[in-house]
Amino acid sequence: MSDASLGAPKRRGRGSTFGGGSPLVYLIALIVVAITVGPVIYGAMGGFRTNAQLADKPAGLPDPWVFGNYKHVLTTSSFWRYALNSTVIAAITTAVTVLFGVMAAYPLARYEFKGREPLFLVFVLGLLFPAAVAIIPLFIIVTRDLSLGNSWWGVALPQAAFALPMTVVILRPFLMALPKELEEAAMIDGSSRVGLFWRIILPLTTPGLITVGVLAFVGSWNAYLLPLLLLQDDMRTLPLGVADFSTEHSSDTAGVLAFTTIAMIPALILFLALQRRIVSGLQGAVKG
């Protein structure tokens, strides 16, 4: 490449501005990658080492490779219990968020009625109330008034409530983009708008539903504050398990790293599988 001369940005600019990958660019990219994934790889590798190895050479590789830490985590019943709780809570949160979200977005997008915009504003305002603000009263309401303390639903329903504003804000433009003729066709067919919603609108909105679904799932899977207040003992989720394991076994660094690494795998797999959807959802949220 002609722009090997690193100190001449001008030439690089004119020649192949947006097509050029000079050695310097690759070097910077390499540094960025190392810093980004370094800690993750350190965690995964640390799980294959003993505590003695870790203390001896903090930055070394496993030598020899030890599988006991991972085996220990995977054979602990509490780990599977946490994983089950995380999965069920994330599944309920996602289902409720997506279903209620698209139901609310539908009339806000496709019905003409007085008070439509003020009603939409309610959801927009909901964006400004983060879970942290009213977390203590929320804890009291869920445990005392609704008797849902230490249960799957007690965490999933509030999480769905906090995910709904963003879901409606993302889905509304989606539904608005569908052609107007859909309603007319349904009218002529004599089918109701409710039927139209289930049989035609929902299938057409699937890409949008997957986007908001993934965002809701990842948000629930990673949540800490609300489960921290609401769940104890056997009902704890993986992030709580990770945090508690880390404090209880603070001297067992290798064990902590193995536990943490396994806990991050589901989110990473989901992310890699549905990366496009997550990214497009976030971009949509920013544009909207």
Partner: protein, 338 residues
Amino acid sequence: MTETATAVSGHDAPVARRAQARRAPGRPERPAGRSDAWRKRLEIALFITPALVLIALFIAWPVFYAVRFSVYKWKGFGPLADFVGLDNYRLVLQDPDFLHAVGHNFTIVAGSIIVQLPLGLGIALLLNRKMWGQGILRTIIFVPYVLAEVVAGVVWYQLLQPQYGMVDAILGKVGLTPPEQGWLGTPEYALWTVLAVLTWKYLGLAVILFLAGLQSVPEELYESAQLDGASWWQVQRKITIPLLGPTIRTWCFLSMIGSLQLFDMVWILTGGGPAGATTTMATYLINQGTKSHNYGIAGAASVILFVIAFVMAILYQIFILRRDTQDESRKARKKVKA
């Protein structure tokens, strides 16, 4: 978003065509009668109520409770009887711990933007070039954002352990002496260390959003600038970055709101310590509520946190985001005139 939207309209093209074909010529539209109007209202209610009920139960009701608690002295049991007016607010606003927490929040707000904006822009511009391994690079840079704050926090806690943590080991090899109590254990460094870990965690979001914004910059602009002999840096400064304006402003807004609510990472890394060096408004109100059972104080702190977030959101909307909407409406007006 745009991509998926087009995918949708691509899908329903046949449906639309069918709909048009069915609209028989001269067939009158069904007149909307009185029963139809009621039916419509019923349908709207049916669709929206579930979402509104959840929001009322788990957002509006707790916020109402927080405001109510904030004017009582209440320890979490018995009736709300000990009305103290605005005393809790006075106590919170005079509590040096809370004022420090507010200061820490604002340090994180400013620090996140000052550090992540240039870094994120730089990396996004870098990744926007056609280069080998671009797709993988984009995936990798986004990985920390997808991890739970707790997971990232626990790994970084191990990395930052004094002496035998990896960070100190590397610094030692280079010949530097890390602080004896560790980066998280030394009050002067703790907040900056938390900020560094947060930067690692959230930089990927900035990069991905900026990259998306860059993709909407039309290629012809670059080409004509290049023909005019503009340098790479001139092109970025005069064309790319101004066109990224709306994306940058929205990202700043998201970052600001996130920093004001900061809890998880601090709780895992330091628990607010050492000696209160890293407390935030959220850790303060959790401590007041769950540990000291001062529900009135926690309520007042909640309301103050919300008011701060709300005022900042409104100010940001008025002074910064409004430029975008104004631009858009100006564009729209132009279109109408044309």
